[in-house]
Symmetry: C2
Subunit: 259 residues, 2 copies
């Protein structure tokens, strides 16, 4: 898949089943989005949860009446436009699917949350290399002991994404990402993984491990996979998400999300 | 009621039935809040409506499980801590009450929205006088033809508050209020009332008229009474609000709402 294709072209390839891989580094300049689909009975609690935890769950779009996106991917079906979906039943991951159209129910509500991939372009433009992009991998993500603010039935800890950054670049990375509050913003932790409850940095809970080299510090950002971590804890009857790293590639320019 | 009493003291007087008047100009330095209480069946649609229309409906607090406030008035009952309430049934104002404790149902959800009174202190500190405070009146509010972004069953037009400002001070007033995005922010209209569907500026739909003097321009801000205007349109089975101008006096410092 050529990186220079437009988001619309890439989504068409996804819809046609020609592309089912992770999307890190694709369509530079365009925001990517995390997906959460829930039955309406959970929608108020989840919207409130997202509002109370905007670093982990920054909202780009909510679709309350049907399966068609508007702001993020105008007129396209949320059920076919993402390369890989996960189905959680009672908090247990039961299926990974390329298409969820057959699962759609009229009472489903869709949430698209901002993704840290947006600020990655800005980091790279500033001369801060990103190991997982260099290595063609999905970013490494971890459960932590950092509690989210609960809302209704939703409670649990924050999931973070980790990027190794040269010690001398860390403050620059903080400054740059702080400018993007609607896609997770500044890091929530710098350095020692054990301080936020990560027992083994070599074993991510989602995504893939990348090398942390001499002179680099692991830097952690709140991650849009948090709702999946929370779902495992809260066990809603049904919740459909993207597969980590397999994002919605949106029509929203990264620059439009600068706060 | 001495203006120098603390928010907690004023709320105690309100709870004891000693104060039932409008609150403009009270407890300077502290934010005031608009109230919306809805049965849970409407809560998701309303939260989404507020999120999509943050200028009219900036959220300060949501209470999803019970009648006790936390962020805005720690541990106090939302049913007794506001000087005057309005009860709307099927969109029709049926009662004004000083206390709604007897109406409380377990499925009620409470929303506290920011109020333009917060930026009034900043305007006055900058030497911009406010006529309704000088005259000891409630601010003048109007229905407009400016549509809100709909969400679920909630749709309708924005309600605005109006303050006459000297022509030479208007831009200063815009700059100051723009710094308070969580309490309506910058004006949404300046000048000609008919351009936003106000037929007669002398006849506010809520609150009281104040004189617009020679050399002054009417300036309009989105107003937290918008949900009441919308309720008249949407006709939810039940909706309880504050009476316009009779606000929740919160413990939140105005400065904490500077964005």
């Amino acid at each position: 898949m050529a990186a220079k294709k437009s988001p619309k072209e890439v989504r068409k390839a996804i819809e046609e089943g020609l592309f089912t891989s992770q999307t890190a580094g694709m369509c530079p300049g365009y925001a990517q989005g995390n997906l959460v689909i829930l039955p309406r009975a959970y929608a108020f609690d989840f919207l409130l949860f997202a509002q109370r935890n905007p670093k982990a769950c920054p909202i780009l779009e909510v679709v309350e009446d049907g399966k068609y996106l508007s702001r993020t991917a105008k007129g396209e079906k949320v059920t076919t436009t993402i390369p890989k979906y996960r189905v959680y039943k009672n908090g247990i991951l039961t299926e990974e699917l390329d298409d969820i159209d057959h699962l759609w129910e009229d009472d489903f509500v869709t949430f698209i949350l901002g993704c840290s991939f947006t600020f990655e372009s800005a980091l790279m433009d500033a001369g801060i290399p990103l190991r997982h992009i260099e290595e063609g991998k999905n970013v490494a993500m971890y459960h932590t002991n950092i509690p989210c603010i609960p809302a209704g039935v939703f409670k649990g800890n924050t999931v973070v994404s980790m990027r190794p950054i040269k010690a001398g670049d860390v403050m620059k990375a903080v400054e740059i990402t702080a400018k993007y509050p609607s896609v997770h913003g500044a890091p929530i932790h710098i350095g020692d993984p054990s301080a936020i409850g990560i027992a083994d940095i070599q074993k991510p809970d989602f995504g893939e491990m990348v090398a942390i080299k001499e002179g680099e510090i692991p830097v952690f950002w709140a991650c849009g996979v948090t709702p999946q971590g929370v779902a495992m804890h809260v066990k809603p009857l049904l919740m459909i998400t993207h597969a980590p790293g397999h994002m919605l590639i949106t029509d929203i320019a990264n620059d439009a999300l600068k706060g």
